[in-house]
């Protein structure tokens, strides 16, 4: 299978839907490309710690409320 899966799951898609933001809009707010945002949202790329913090901060949540370990 070609698609990569990471060890971490996130709730970004749900949180983004709650805010009514498009993926491009969220990517712009975080200053990353839509490609990167899409990969993170689909659990195919683990963001760096600093980006993960920026994501949590943007949604005004704690890190563990956005990202969960797979186990």
């Amino acid at each position: 299978m070609i698609a990569e899966a990471t060890d971490m799951k996130n709730r970004i898609r749900v949180l983004r839907a709650e805010k009514n933001w498009t993926q491009a809009e969220l990517a712009k707010r975080l200053d990353v490309s839509r490609n990167t945002m899409n990969a993170i949202e689909n659990n195919r790329y683990d963001p760096s710690l600093s980006l993960a913090f920026r994501i949590a901060k943007l949604f005004r949540l704690k890190m563990e409320d956005v990202f969960q370990d797979e186990d």
């Binding site: 299978m1 070609i2 990353v32 689909n42 195919r44 790329y45 963001p47 920026r54």
Partner: protein, 176 residues
Amino acid sequence: MTNMLCILYKRLVMVESGAEARAKFPKLSRMALLAIAAAPLPLLLGWSIYVRQAGLGADAVRLPIIVAIVWGVTFTFLSWRRLDEGGREAIKFAFCWGAGPGMMIAATAVLLVLYYPQPVGEIVKRAAEGYAAMRGGLPPETAGFFVGAAMVIGIQQMLFVLVWLVWWARRRLGPQ
């Protein structure tokens, strides 16, 4: 000196995220980056035609090479700073698993061609002869060197692009 280089490298390349870099430097659009990439090409082409017509020496030929190297480094720097972390990861991965092994494969291929000239050696020889004829009186050894170098760089670049595409495909394709 090494310390200074390390500090410079950290300050300019590694530590700052794309977001921080973009906050400091004006954001370059994709088109602007392409324009910067293409800008020196007509200048270099014009210079090489002038050098040939005026019959200038080796120093005049070296000048565009130096310009090309300086421009290449500047362009790489600008492109790197423009990238976000996903883009940077893809490039690091492609360098490690594409360009690096590509260089080794190409170098091995060059050695094989040198020691076992058939059948690839014949193709390289013909390409070198064609290039020598095109450049008008270029010594065959020099033409062979250029063709060999182009092959090594070509293989390296092909593998780099292939691995880069695979990295992104694994993150963008398939069921979501």
